[in-house]
């Protein structure tokens, strides 16, 4: 431990001091402490001398691709159930929605994808190139707690490109950490799968050859296929 001569100046105050954001009285107190304390002065120097970071560009707001929620109602529900039963899936492991979701009032789940090309420019998110990166924005009701993960269904395969993320704070358009890529020529169905725990999420995804009921999905076409 590096010994401070008194009460260490917090990193946030040092940052605000460096940015010139502190009120005059606080500024004087920080300056006085830094003059006496080599340890805090070293911390401040690490801020002042930090190399300029090459920050990744931010995506400007763009018209959003309308997310659609996978609906399993009417004849599609029966068709889906028949297909699942035919595949024996219903008997192997029942697919169920997180119970907490069924009771959410006045809220909904949504998935929004932001597509960044190789130069980090925002592109229309209805299709994909191999060089593109996608960031996922999740909307969930504020009272809801659980986990969310992204599952991609493509050419009969399923893969999960991002870590499962615990949603301790739900709200509108929460960006999931990380970005993912899509490859191949086949249409990709990108789904956000919500569950009450990571174990439940893994069970949902591993048992599904198609998105489980209640997943929020959006379909993207390959640019190569589109331009063919």
């Amino acid at each position: 431990m590096s010994a401070c001569t008194g009460q260490p100046i917090s990193w946030m105050r040092l940052e605000r001091y460096a940015l010139g954001e502190l009120p005059e009285t606080e500024r004087d107190a920080v300056a006085s402490h830094l003059a006496d304390c080599p340890v805090c002065n070293e911390c401040f120097a690490s801020i002042e001398d930090a190399p300029v970071l090459d920050l990744p560009p931010l995506a400007p707001p763009t018209p959003k691709t309308k997310p659609h929620r996978a609906r399993w109602t009417g004849w599609t529900a029966w068709a889906g159930l028949a297909a699942a039963a035919a595949a024996g899936l219903l008997f192997l492991r029942p697919v169920r929605e997180p119970a907490s979701r069924l009771h959410v009032k006045g809220g909904d789940f949504a998935l929004e994808l932001v597509r960044l090309d190789a130069e980090d420019r925002v592109q229309e998110a209805s299709h994909f190139d191999a060089a593109d990166r996608f960031k996922a924005l999740i909307t969930c009701p504020p009272a809801w707690r659980g986990v969310v993960g992204i599952a991609v269904y493509q050419a009969g395969q399923i893969y999960t490109p991002l870590s499962v993320h615990a949603l301790d704070e739900c709200g509108n358009r929460r960006a999931l950490p990380g970005a993912f890529k899509l490859d191949g020529n086949a249409r990709a169905l990108v789904c956000a799968s919500f569950a009450s725990s990571e174990a439940e999420w893994r069970a949902r995804v591993s048992s599904a050859s198609a998105p489980p009921s209640g997943d929020v999905c959006t379909a993207l076409e390959s640019s190569r296929e589109k331009n063919r």
């Binding site: 590096s2 940015l19 970071l53 920050l55 932001v114 870590s163 615990a166 301790d168 950490p177």
Partner: protein, 157 residues
């Protein structure tokens, strides 16, 4: 977004101290600003962003797969100089992951502000809009948990 250029470097340094990974710190801060841009948020200041980054880092630490990845790649240098200790221990990523499993969410947040960000109790109280007395009580419980953890692990935390 001027706020991004102004505050992102400070927030990345803060996330690096918690996660001990530059790439993950960058990703957390970038994701936060992507979200703020989508929400068209304005009038945000550094204390607000500090809290947002703290909570996002704690999300990563609590997530099993992210935690494993962070622990396998941690760069101890990014923790920075240790100016405050809890029961004579520096709160680094190893200890933070263990404590995040034993403490409630707000206590872990307080722990980070006090022993990673070196804030005073008054600063934490102001940031969380709680009384200084409440922060003091929470810190007492945090100390008890750290002591118990050290004793259970035979001092090898």
């Amino acid at each position: 977004m001027e706020t991004y250029r102004r505050y992102a470097p400070a927030l990345i340094r803060k996330a690096e101290r918690m996660l001990q990974s530059h790439d993950d710190a960058l990703d957390v801060v970038h994701a936060l600003f992507v979200e703020l841009l989508q929400r068209d948020s304005s009038e945000i200041d550094l204390p607000y962003l500090y809290r947002a980054v703290t909570n996002r880092c704690l999300n990563l630490i609590r997530d099993n797969s992210s935690r494993r990845r962070l622990l396998s790649r941690q760069d101890v240098v990014l923790r920075g100089p240790v100016r405050s200790t809890c029961e004579d221990r520096a709160i680094d990523l190893d200890l933070l992951t263990k404590l995040s499993a034993r403490l409630d969410r707000q206590s872990v947040e307080i722990l980070v502000y006090r022993y990673v960000d070196d804030m005073t109790q008054e600063e934490i109280a102001s940031l969380l809009r709680l009384s200084r007395k409440t922060i003091g009580h929470r810190l007492d419980r945090i100390h008890e948990t750290v002591r118990a953890l050290i004793e259970n692990d035979g001092g090898d935390t």
